[in-house]
């Protein structure tokens, strides 16, 4: 059986099961009520994309810095990196958002909740990025550094022309995967009242009492973003696997 057919088969079977389940529920569908709020959904969806992309950029920078800390020979820097990564990865994003917004941002006088949202999301994602980057650099064999030194490259040139081009290829697939997680995790930004996709759905639900009509499009909207990204991640992985 060809692969696409297998995928199609599984999707159709799953859809049939879900349709059956919905058919058994006595539910009064009211799509027009929710359709009236389509602009709000679109706004929220675009905000989710913008917040996720901003967080991807900032968390990449944080991740690079943190991965350098993790590999530092200075105990203090290594400790900063390790404590950051373990603390962030060991606690729920929900708690980080609440403390970040109501305590820390408040204390330093940062009022723009969108800025705080991107920062907290970036700090959260940066801890995962740090491990991705650390792993990517560690995967380049030391013989490559040897060869770079042997042809007379400076340490900076060696990083620029030999190590980074190879490491970036290695980390691109997991970074694309991390973006998928970021997009879904950004739904928690609703708890600090950022008008992203999930909050839009929650609000429309509050106006219309049409829960399923709000949350089904929500799921579809996230899949619309995450499915192509997952495909991209898999494609990148195949492509760079062949080359090394």
């Amino acid at each position: 059986m060809p692969r696409w057919l297998a995928h199609l088969l599984v999707v159709v079977l799953l859809a049939a099961l879900v349709a059956l389940a919905f058919a058994r529920v006595d539910y009064a569908w009211n799509w027009p009520a929710v359709w009236a709020y389509r602009e709000k959904f679109l706004q929220g969806w675009l905000t989710t994309i913008a917040m996720s992309l901003a967080a991807l950029v900032v968390s990449s920078l944080i991740g690079i810095l943190a991965s350098l800390c993790l590999q530092s020979k200075r105990p203090l820097l290594e400790a900063v990196g390790r404590v950051y990564v373990e603390l962030i990865r060991g606690t729920p994003l929900l708690v980080q958002l609440l403390i970040g917004f109501y305590v820390i941002a408040n204390a330093v006088g940062l009022e723009n909740r969108y800025v705080v949202g991107v920062l907290v999301l970036s700090l959260f994602s940066g801890a995962y990025m740090a491990e991705i980057f650390r792993g990517g650099l560690a995967a380049i064999p030391t013989t490559q550094r040897d060869a770079a030194r042997a042809i007379g490259l400076t340490p900076w040139q060696s990083l620029r022309f030999v190590i980074l081009p190879q490491a970036i290829r290695l980390v691109l697939p997991p970074v694309a995967g991390q973006l998928v997680s970021l997009i879904k995790d950004s739904s928690l930004l609703s708890v600090i009242a950022i008008a992203e996709f999930t909050l839009s759905a929650q609000e429309v639900n509050a106006f219309t009492y049409s829960t399923l009509e709000c949350y089904l499009p929500l799921a579809a909207g996230y899949l619309l973003l995450t499915l192509p990204l997952s495909a991209l991640a898999r494609w990148l992985e195949r492509r760079f696997h062949y080359e090394s």
Partner: protein, 242 residues
């Protein structure tokens, strides 16, 4: 090359790999290092190539001492070439770009001048047709010949080759050895670590037998292969020569 090594000592994690090794060659073109595995050949070659700093001792080429700090060694490495057993080509670059990288980034040639510099050697060694392939698409012999060219096109004062044929099957090894032989005839100076004794005999001006971190015997190929006074060296050659 007039290589003079004096009391060279190297230790890794408490293990002494080179033990006050001393060696002085004549003004020769080709020095071949032979001896049992783990005897210190590669360690010596890496120090000569400026890749590692010894814990003690001195090395001088043609009267000039090797620098003893990483900054000085980096400048020194620009003037020599190193070839590794496992090729160590850059897998993300085509064969051609592997050759151009040191020319453009280290020796500051223009892209056009660098291409012109590598064109003739690529053709002479039958690699022009493979220049645009990535290392993964090349055979072992082609990879190693590209690696030798990468070390050679910068016109080094000396080439250091660390068991360049050990990872190759006999046919590919022959390709690489032919190339080294041709380079020697054209005047390239090199220090070669190898287990190919027939080739050592043919190409070496002098052979040094390294074992237990020292030079156990040193002389011309003829002196070394026939009636070497050192019993250990004699036994080694008798075991591995047909």
């Amino acid at each position: 090359m007039n290589l003079v090594v004096t009391d060279l000592t190297q230790r890794f994690a408490g293990t002494t790999v080179l033990d006050r090794l001393s060696l002085a060659t004549g003004d020769i073109r080709a020095l071949v290092l032979v001896g049992p595995s783990g005897g210190g050949k590669t360690t010596l070659l890496r120090i000569l190539a400026g890749l590692d700093l010894p814990v003690a001792g001195r090395v001088a080429f043609a009267g000039r001492e090797l620098p003893r700090d990483e900054v000085g060694l980096q400048a020194y490495r620009k003037t020599v070439g190193t070839v590794f057993q496992a090729y160590n080509l850059f897998p993300h670059l085509s064969a051609l770009d592997n050759l151009l990288l040191p020319l453009v980034q280290v020796h500051k040639l223009s892209a056009a001048a660098a291409r012109e510099r590598v064109r003739e050697p690529l053709e002479r060694f039958g690699l022009a047709a493979h220049a645009h392939k990535r290392p993964a698409e090349l055979s072992g012999g082609q990879k190693q010949r590209i690696a030798i060219l990468r070390a050679l096109v910068v016109q080094p004062a000396c080439l250091f080759l660390d068991e360049p044929t050990s990872a190759l099957d006999p046919e590919m090894a022959a390709e690489v050895l032919d190339m080294i032989q041709e380079l020697k005839l054209q005047g390239t100076r090199f220090v070669l670590v190898t287990h190919e004794m027939q080739f050592a005999r043919r190409a070496a001006d002098e052979i040094a037998f390294i074992g237990d971190g020292r030079v156990l015997a040193h002389g011309s190929a003829a002196e070394m292969f026939t009636n070497c006074p050192q019993p250990r060296v004699r036994a080694f050659f008798q075991r591995i020569l047909p």
